[in-house]
């Protein structure tokens, strides 16, 4: 099957600083997570994917179309859902009116069909009940779901989400995960996150970006597998461990080079990610 997104040697420079240093990726259906510390180029990559930004060099094809070409760009944008990192909402609109406005921008001309579609996406993110409320009355988690609803208009084949779970409490995050994973069967969802739990919970694939380059590309299980035989517990902290912390039972969980008689544990995605980064990366422990 033809991949939905293909990038070759994608770079982006702002003046003298390099945000992306040559990214080659192929993305298919399912949920792909971008993991990486702040400044690794996640947002830049997602903005380029969403055609909000042109790359400096390299090529990008989405559904086989080139966003640099006006016709190709339109083809992409008609099948794209995008939630930027800082999505502003019109606070004095109702949830319905807001999504309806975006639907107008997305060329849903016929009013009746458009309203049906708006109701459908709001139902999809479980906001049917509060669709008549003003956005300013909604909780943080609901506002995020309003943002997601607009990205689902027109059943897009590519959905780009920049840090969709940041700032949500555990229950809201769970809710959000359920909604996102419902979308995964029919489309390509690309999201960035700091949270390895999100990756473990719902992603088919994880791409770790570091300094604008791909540092890892595989399944969450493979990423966790990097820490195979490298995670252990002991009664005393080991100075040789890369990271260690005291567990609830009063023992010490460590990642690094275990002693030969160590009591090994099954690794998590976070362990693999820690090893990949050679320590505690900024923002990865949230």
């Amino acid at each position: 099957m033809e991949p939905i997104v293909v990038t070759r040697g994608l770079t982006k420079r702002y003046g003298r600083s390099t945000a992306l240093a040559g990214v080659d990726l192929q993305l298919e259906r399912g949920i792909t997570a971008l993991l990486g510390p702040n400044g690794a180029g996640k947002t830049t990559f997602l903005r380029i994917l969403a055609t909000a930004l042109a790359p400096t060099t390299g090529s990008l094809r989405v559904f086989g179309s080139d966003p640099a070409d006006p016709g190709g760009r339109l083809t992409i944008r008609r099948q794209l859902g995008y939630v930027p990192q800082e999505l502003g909402l019109f606070d004095n609109f109702t949830a319905f009116d807001f999504v309806d406005y975006v639907a107008i921008l997305k060329e849903h001309v016929d009013r009746r069909a458009r309203h049906d579609e708006v109701r459908r996406v709001l139902d999809e993110v479980d906001l049917s009940d509060v669709r008549s409320k003003k956005i300013r009355q909604l909780s943080g988690g609901m506002r995020r779901r309003v943002g997601l609803a607009q990205a689902l208009l027109g059943d897009p084949a590519l959905v780009v989400l920049d840090e969709p779970t940041v700032g949500l409490d555990p229950e809201q995050r769970l809710r959000f995960r359920q909604v996102i994973s419902r979308q995964a069967d029919q489309r390509c969802v690309v999201l960035s996150t700091h949270m390895t739990e999100d990756v473990e919970a719902m992603c088919d694939r994880v791409v770790v970006l570091d300094h604008g380059a791909v540092a890892f590309d595989g399944t969450p299980a493979t990423l966790a597998g990097l820490a195979h035989d490298r995670v252990w517990v002991a009664d005393r902290p080991e100075p040789s461990a890369l990271v260690s912390w005291r567990t609830g039972e009063g023992r010490h969980r460590m990642v690094g080079e275990p002693p030969s008689d160590a009591e090994l544990l099954a690794p998590t995605v976070q362990d693999g990610y820690l090893l990949l980064n050679g320590g505690v990366p900024e923002g990865a422990s949230a």
């Binding site: 049906d116 109701r119 479980d126 049917s128 009940d129 509060v130 669709r131 008549s132 409320k133």
Partner: protein
């Protein structure tokens, strides 16, 4: 979108809403919860339509009145104070919406004095007496159809004589005189 029939998702507000009392639904509607409106519709739209159809033969007008009723409930739920129960409140809105639509259709009967409260109250007492007798039907049967219609509009539907006149297409004065005749006949039937 399909008409709601109870809870559809295993989580979320819908299952909670199905367990709400009518009054709780109205409170949720006042807080702009659409699922609560859907539940209220599922519970009340049916019998309201059935009853409205006994007041007006035009099904199109009845449908319109039903829609207007729920629009009014949506915007006016905050004004519900619990007196008389949700069903009675909604019926009051429906029948007045229907009358409003009827008034647009046909010219208003000659206007005259309104609401002889004592008269309605005394007929109401008689109807209640009939209900307690367990023989409301018998009491009403004693009335001629046009008197029965007047008693039904004023006592059962709780309309003023002016509103009853509009519903039945007769002047309010006529409603009043028919009420007096109905009272006399019902007294006789209960004696």
């Amino acid at each position: 979108m399909n008409r709601p029939r109870g809870s559809a998702r295993q989580w979320g507000v819908r299952s909670r809403i199905a367990a709400c009392s009518d009054a709780e639904l109205v409170a949720l509607i006042a807080d702009e919860h659409r699922d609560a409106l859907a539940e209220l519709y599922a519970r009340h739209a049916g019998w309201l339509v059935a009853r409205l159809r006994h007041r007006c033969a035009d099904d199109g007008l009845v449908a319109e009145a039903l829609q207007d009723t729920f629009v009014a409930v949506w915007h006016g739920a905050g004004r519900y104070h619990g007196a008389g129960g949700v069903a009675a409140w909604m019926w009051g809105i429906s029948i007045r919406r229907l009358i409003g639509l009827l008034r647009k259709r046909r010219p208003e009967p000659v206007a005259d004095s309104d609401q002889p409260a004592a008269l309605v109250a005394s007929v109401e007492e008689l109807v209640l007496a009939g209900t307690e007798h367990g023989d409301l039907a018998g009491v009403l049967r004693s009335l001629s159809p046009e008197l029965r219609a007047v008693v039904q509009a004023t006592v059962l539907d709780g309309l003023t004589t002016r509103e009853a006149g509009r519903l039945l297409g007769i002047p309010a004065g006529t409603v009043k005189t028919r009420m007096m005749r109905a009272r006399a006949e019902m007294r006789g039937a209960l004696a």
